[in-house]
């Protein structure tokens, strides 16, 4: 056998170079040709696996040999290399934090005859870390002991990144929606990004035409402090062509996958600044704009330094997504803050207004009463009558002002109720007495009695009774009596105020306790004066005493307002 001949045959040279035809030679040559074909096929398979990022493997459990792929194995054998690793050696290629888990899954697959299915990280020969999805099947001897595990490993870096990004984004959304505080929201943006997707994260917002750093997070807290100082010393010039200024202007995200020294030199304004930026060690940067009502109001900057990761387009896309969610969150926070400020302003306004309104009312009332005394002395009946009317109106005015303030108090939860025991009858009888003195044209009759003792605010309950009786009178222009029933029913102290006035129609019935609701007299088409908040306040006061306020009414016949308040105790008196 001549090697030259064989090689000629293998390489497709014409038959003429071969000499003798012997069956042995023929077979051998054919074998070598087969082998070469197989080698080419294997290389092609290996290449396609490489392209698809798939690798098949075999773990010979009994011999403790792990082959990375049969084609690899064959190739290595041909090249004369050792084609397998021991199990332990192979384990060393698995990322340390995943080793335990992989071992457990393997063992469980072997024990339970189930498929092996695991995702874990591995080191490549360049020491970079990659995610792998490994699936395989265990083969057993007849007597049940495992022989080998055959499987496929698939690189899932891209999928993992997508998953991580998606998790990251939903985590971000959760955090964003948990706070309506503007500053907190911005800080949470930065803190979320580090160290998940960046070593450094800045949030800059335009305030007064300047880009202000409002939040910063760094993997190394010492460096965060330093970064803050750096920004103070070298504020951003919004006219710069590149960097944050550019993103602010264009509203487009920017990716700088590789930060070179030339870029640092170009960006630095002073030698000292260059020195510092070099020290920081920027590897990769990406910036995403924050919008508010279609305007760019800020930029989120993500920087890698120590981890030496380089951002790519998919990272930029995610950063853009994050910035977009941050924009919504910031927008919401802003709106909330504005609304709160408005409410606070309004509440303060009402508080101040009611105080201010009472001042001129006070002096007018004083002068009115002085004149009243004069007219009494002079026996000027007419003047006295007019001045009395004026005084009554001033009292009404004062009531309205007080109502205004009470509504605000109830709304802001500021209305404090006393917590003391009092006899249910007391505030009722006091109110009746006072109102009877004022409204002499009406007869207010008290029917029944109650020995209940209530825990709560006697004055506020008195306020409720006054409100109900005044309403009864107000809405009975053609009647002249009001009946007040006091009693006990079950666990409740009961009060009912019955009038014979215009009544309330069915459609108004459940609205009367609403704030600012006022009834129209459909007959005279007159709206009764008042702010319409008395019943609203009364309802709230009764509710806060654990009770209920409701009404029964018939149009044209009159209304009865009922109050039920749970009592603390009941005095049993002597007859």
């Amino acid at each position: 056998m001549n090697i030259k001949h064989i090689s000629a045959k293998l390489n497709g040279y014409p038959h003429s170079l071969t000499s003798e035809k012997s069956s042995h030679d023929q077979q051998f040559v054919e074998l070598l040709a087969e082998r070469k074909k197989m080698q080419e096929q294997l290389e092609r398979l290996a290449l396609s696996h490489q392209a698809a990022q798939i690798e098949s493997f075999e773990w010979n459990i009994q011999k403790n040999q792990v082959f990375s792929s049969p084609e690899e194995k064959a190739l290595k054998e041909i090249k004369g290399k050792r084609s397998f690793k021991t199990f332990d050696a192979w384990m060393k290629t698995v990322y340390p934090l995943d080793r335990e888990r992989v071992k457990n899954v393997l063992q469980s697959a072997i024990d339970s005859h189930a498929e092996f299915d695991c995702e874990f990280r591995v080191f490549w020969s360049d020491k970079s870390i990659h995610w792998v999805s490994s699936k395989g099947k265990v083969f057993y001897e007849k007597k049940g002991s495992p022989i080998k595990l055959l499987g496929i490993n698939r690189n899932i870096d891209a999928q993992k990144k997508r998953e991580q990004n998606s998790d990251f984004l939903s985590e971000a959304s959760k955090i964003f929606s948990s706070s309506l505080d503007y500053q907190q929201t911005l800080e949470s943006v930065a803190n979320l990004a580090v160290p998940a997707i960046a070593d450094w994260c800045n949030v800059d917002i335009i305030q007064n035409g300047k880009a202000q750093q409002v939040a910063i997070a760094h993997r190394n807290p010492k460096k965060a402090k330093f970064a803050k100082e750096f920004r103070k010393r070298y504020p951003i010039d919004v006219n710069e062509p590149t960097g944050i200024a550019e993103v602010l202007r264009t509203g487009e995200p920017r990716l700088y996958p590789y930060i070179t020294d030339e870029m640092l030199v170009a960006a630095a304004k002073t030698k000292k600044q260059l020195q510092i930026t070099r020290k920081i060690g920027l590897t990769s940067v990406m910036m995403a704009p924050i919008f508010s009502q279609k305007e760019t109001i800020g930029v989120i900057t993500f920087v890698t330094s120590e981890t030496k990761k380089h951002y790519d387009q998919s990272d930029l896309q995610m950063a853009g997504e994050l910035a977009s969610r941050a924009s919504s969150a910031i927008e919401n926070a802003r709106h909330y803050k504005e609304a709160q400020d408005a409410v606070r302003l309004r509440d303060d306004f009402i508080s101040v207004a009611s105080h201010e309104l009472k001042t001129p009312v006070t002096s007018v009332k004083m002068f009115t009463q002085v004149l009243k005394k004069h007219s009494e002395k002079k026996n000027d009946r007419q003047a006295l009558s007019y001045l009395s009317k004026m005084n009554r109106q001033l009292n009404k005015l004062t009531e309205l002002i007080v109502d205004l303030l009470n509504v605000r108090k109830i709304q802001t939860g500021e209305m404090e109720l006393h917590n003391a025991l009092f006899k249910f009858e007391k505030p009722i009888k006091e109110a009746v007495e006072m109102l009877q003195q004022i409204y002499t044209k009406y007869t207010i009759t008290v029917i029944g009695k109650s020995r209940c003792v209530i825990r709560g605010d006697k004055e506020r309950i008195g306020q409720v009774v006054t409100n109900l009786i005044s309403n009864a009178i107000k809405y009975s222009p053609s009647a002249n009596e009001v009946k007040v029933y006091i009693g006990t029913k079950g666990k409740y102290a009961r009060l009912s105020v019955k009038d014979f006035g215009i009544g309330i129609s069915k459609e108004h019935l459940d609205k009367v306790f609403e704030r600012f609701y006022r009834i129209n007299d459909t007959i005279t088409d007159k709206t009764f004066p008042g702010l319409g908040i008395g019943l609203y306040i009364s309802y709230e006061i009764v509710r806060r005493h654990g009770g209920k306020l409701w009404v029964e009414s018939e149009i044209g016949k009159g209304s009865t307002f009922h109050v039920a308040i749970p009592f603390e105790k009941r005095k049993r008196g002597k007859k």
């Binding site: 009472k358 001129p360 009463q369």
Partner: protein, 119 residues
């Protein structure tokens, strides 16, 4: 002899009304929007009663009250505090005030209180 009443309130309209109201009733009135007058008394000019507004411009009437009650010369002068704030009445005792009247008020109610403290 006529009783002397000092009135301090930051509203001119109210001060005028007090002037008229109290002098017609026979009292000697000294009114001002500036609480300074309360610390400028001489032995002869000490009032028999002070009516003091809680909310004064730039100064808290309650602090004035506290101060007056801590000074030897003025500590025995009864003080009635007035205020448009409904809750102000509750803190009056703490600062040493003798009584409280809310704005607006019935003048008879005021006179009753004045008589009570000047008799």
């Amino acid at each position: 002899m006529n009783k002397k009443i000092a009135v301090v309130d930051d509203d001119e309209g109210i001060l005028e009304a007090f002037d008229v109201l109290l002098s017609e009733k026979g009292y000697q009135v000294q009114s001002s929007s500036n609480a300074k007058i309360l610390f400028d008394f001489t032995k002869d000019t000490l009032p028999d009663l002070i009516v003091l507004d809680v909310l004064l411009s730039g100064v808290d009437g309650r602090d004035i009250c506290r101060k007056l009650k801590s000074q030897e010369e003025t500590k025995n002068i009864p003080i009635i505090m007035i205020s448009a704030h409904p809750g102000a009445g509750k803190t009056m005792k703490e600062v040493g005030a003798d009584d409280f009247i809310p704005k607006p008020f019935e003048i008879d109610e005021l006179f009753n209180k004045i008589e009570k403290y000047t008799s």
